[in-house]
Amino acid sequence: MTSENIDGGKALIRSLEKEGVEVMFGLPGGAILPVYDPIIDSTIRHILVRHEQGAGHMAQGYAQATGKPGVAMVTSGPAATNIVTPLCDAYLDSIPLVVITGQVPLAAIGTDAFQECDTTGITMGVTKHNFLVKDAQDIPRIVKEAFHIATTGRPGPVLIDLPKDIVDPNSPRSELDWVDDPEMDLPGYKPEKDIDFSGIEKAVELIQTSERPVFYIGGGILKARAAEALRELVEITGIHVVTTLMARGAFPDSHELCLGMPGMHGNYTAVTSMQKSDLLVALGARFDDRVTGKVDGFAPDAKIIHVDIDPAEIGKVRKPDVAINGDCRLVIEAMVDLLRQQDATQTDRSEWKSTISGWQERFPLTYEDSEPGSRLKPQYVLEQLRDLTPEDTIVASGVGQHQMWTSQYWSFDHPYTWINSGGLGTMGFSIPAAIGAKVGNPDRMVWAVDGDGCFQMTAQELVTSTVENIPIKVALLNNSYLGMVRQWQDMFYEERFSEVFLSDDVPNYKAWAESMGCVGIRVDSPEEVPEAIAKANEIEDRSVVIDFRTAPEERVYPMVPAGKDNSSIVVPPSQESQER
């Protein structure tokens, strides 16, 4: 093999191309400059963002919607710190990302050089792994390792910190012999697990004999591309399913066995069925405190089967009766095989089924229609949006009340159509995430559902959407408040509202949207809602922002108050007198 001498910057871009990277999100600066030069000649599309946080969230949205790793590249110092939030977000939601940061030259590291920060130190706790590259020759191998680590096992973000002198063609340190297929050197990384079949037998036996079982589905099902396998498992067992905030769409909401979202703002039936179950089959779920409520009081009669790719999740919160460490899809397929062989008669669960349908009848999601002349009901807006957009629409949400209402009122019938910040709860997530999702799915309609507080954190990325021609649609549920915090003050702080009012009239969202090259629409009354949505749906050449003026006093129901167990679920006033 003839050896080829190239510089580190070119080697980086070529390594990314070899990994199949089609698009990356970023913003250049001093330390990363040498890597931006070869981008001009690369097949990779680079999307120039307006803030590095946007680059990270776009890469996340892209990864969540496509299943491919998201790639972002930024410079050193303030750019690296700007992307820490998306790294942490991706870490908590197990999203495969590869983030490349510039760094000051090797000799300047540790001298408080201009725009130096300890990027690998800062991001150690929020990445699956990070690398500080000290030798240009290592670049091809490290890029390969980074993608391997980000996408295998439990996925997550990986950061590569690149000192300037190893990528700068003017520096002798940047020279390397290009290696086409470097060998990875990861002796401590073993993502493949041998599945324990005795665990699967035990699990199947518990499933067959349980009287009140519930499948508790987490985001791991989506990561494992296991939605189809899950559907088979559900259909041969006839067991009801709850899908957590991270798993919405992993099992179709329209299916008769789907109970929807559990948790702090889950619907009554999803929450209560888990609480009263005698068996919870947790598949790729991590017993998050927003799902369990007070752990001591969580599902007290339930045996637990816990399937997860990450051994550190098993038993972290609740000790399982059967633990299976492995890829969810493989485990589910093995369960299905075994169930088919057994052909055993199932336990009679007719009583449990009628209990569940009783809850569904008495405690549906509900809200009161708005009074004429008063502000819109956010739930109504979401119902309209759900009904008037294509079935495979991708929805990205921000964080707050609007997020919970979207998860509740949307009907997710396809995997990878719901994108949100679950673990970190990052305000400002939706617009950049929606842009990333649209980049990965140019033919699908992508809506961001945002709050007014969130919008003001990352709206500038709509400029990116205009300039880069990535048209998305934004449904702004504008209640003039940091609504979720307002709700807590309303319910738990005696309506003492502290620092939650944003403004009724500034900014002018319509004008702001227009100034960013988008179409801006303001909607005040319910009759205008369908019309505005239809208009937005028709606009394909630019982004659209609809400022829906929603009611500030509206609360998200049901709600399990923080620190309480799930049997303390608070239902809307109209359901308070219902028999529990």
């Binding site: 690998t120 706790g125 500080l132 990861l186 002796p187 401590g188 990384y189 051994p311 550190a312 972290k316």
Partner: protein
Amino acid sequence: MKKTQGNYTILVITVENKFGVLARVSGLFSRRGVNIKSLAVAPTDKAEFSRITVDLDIELEGVSLDQIINQLDKLINVVEIRALDPAESVERELMIVTVEAEASQRDELVDHLDKVGGKVLNIGTESMMLSLVETSSVIDDFESFLSGYGIVELQRTGRVALDSL
């Protein structure tokens, strides 16, 4: 003060011998508010790997040891990790110590040192430097005995351990 015996956990971690690895390992303890009592790190018979021996107080308030082990195992640079059962392992620690010792006190001191198998490394006009390789509990005892003389400077390595045969 005599420390209680057997009240500890030893973790043995094989890691890649690279920069930053110790920070990743120790960072995981610090993030959880777990104090490391002692830590020994050195390359193994294979230069590309190091062996870290971590000595932890057993009372990890509200923190599960299994979970710490699982999370450490997730670190990409950690090749192998396990907890050693003190009853099933042989452990040693090295202490070097400088104690105040007038000429008149030295015989008695050396007598005691011989009994525990220690060595005299260096002799000054008013002090002596001693070393002792023993189990940590024997070293604890000897250290408290020496404190009667006056300890000038002391360094212990922390436990290192191997499985019993």
